[in-house]
């Protein structure tokens, strides 16, 4: 064990075997799944969020290209949909970890989770409908 450690650092992010070793352990049982989801969505969001912000900058400063035209193209519509999905999944995991640290009664924790899940579902649903409408209208 210590021999392999010196030549190869394994972490839960990089090595699936670490995940196998700790699966079903700990107070949260499946807690590592959410931990990994948070990291994987973080990785996806690096290019997706940069693309979104760069597009916003282009729209804000061009004057000619409109947002509706931008979202009519399949590539930008797809990338914005992926950005919304990864972003809200990441947000949900992050807010849940904050609640787990600061909300100390079961009832309040459940209420906080339910509220954030409902709000996220509504926000993500509205975004997807908006993008699809713009894409399909053109």
């Amino acid at each position: 064990m210590s021999d392999t450690r010196s030549s190869y650092i394994s972490t839960a992010l990089r090595d699936g075997s670490v995940l196998r070793r700790v699966r079903h352990l700990g107070s949260a049982r499946g807690g590592l799944r959410e931990w990994r989801l948070q990291r994987l969505t973080a990785l996806a969001l690096i290019p997706l969020a940069l693309y979104f912000v760069a597009s916003m900058l282009r729209l804000a400063t061009s004057g000619r290209i409109t947002a509706a035209q931008w979202l009519a193209s399949p590539i930008s519509a797809l990338l914005v949909i992926l950005f919304v999905l990864a972003g809200f999944a990441h947000m949900l995991a992050g807010l849940r970890s904050v609640f787990l640290d600061y909300v100390h009664t079961r009832a309040r924790l459940l209420l906080a989770h339910l509220f954030v899940r409902a709000a996220t579902a509504i926000l993500a649903g509205a975004s997807l409908l908006a993008v699809l409408k713009l894409f399909l209208d053109h």
Binding site: S10, M91, S127, L134
Partner: protein
């Protein structure tokens, strides 16, 4: 008077001595929460673009108002910070940069990157 043993950051403002590392860590969560609230702005904008007409005109006017610009500015700072410091966290998660020196070096790099990206972004908005 200062306690000699390690203290939880929750002992601030009296007992806890802030280090850059803990301040940046707390800031990562705060910007994450801020961006969660800020996502409402993003969804509102997408819906306004899809709805068009009066709603889009009102949204556009709001974003261009001083309050709207301030919100967008804060959104951009929170975004760049969470992005840069998030990359720092991913490096830690992958097993790199745990030495104290790397933690500080990474922290200063993040602060510098956020400053540069924010200034470049808003300079571009106002010049272009």
């Amino acid at each position: 008077m200062r306690m000699q043993r390690p203290l939880s950051p929750f002992m601030f403002p009296i007992w806890y001595r802030f280090q850059m590392t803990s301040a940046l860590s707390i800031l990562h969560r705060l910007t994450g929460i801020a961006l969660s609230v800020g996502s409402i702005l993003l969804v509102w904008w997408l819906v306004a673009v899809a709805a068009g007409g009066e709603l889009f005109a009102a949204t556009h006017a709001f974003m261009r108002s001083p309050i709207g610009m301030l919100l967008l500015f804060l959104w951009s700072v929170a975004f760049f910070y969470h992005l840069c410091n998030g990359i720092r966290h991913l490096a830690w998660d992958a097993g790199y940069g745990f030495e104290l020196r790397s933690a500080y070096r990474g922290g200063y790099t993040v602060i510098a990157a956020v400053l540069v990206l924010t200034v470049l972004t808003w300079a571009y908005v106002f010049i272009a």
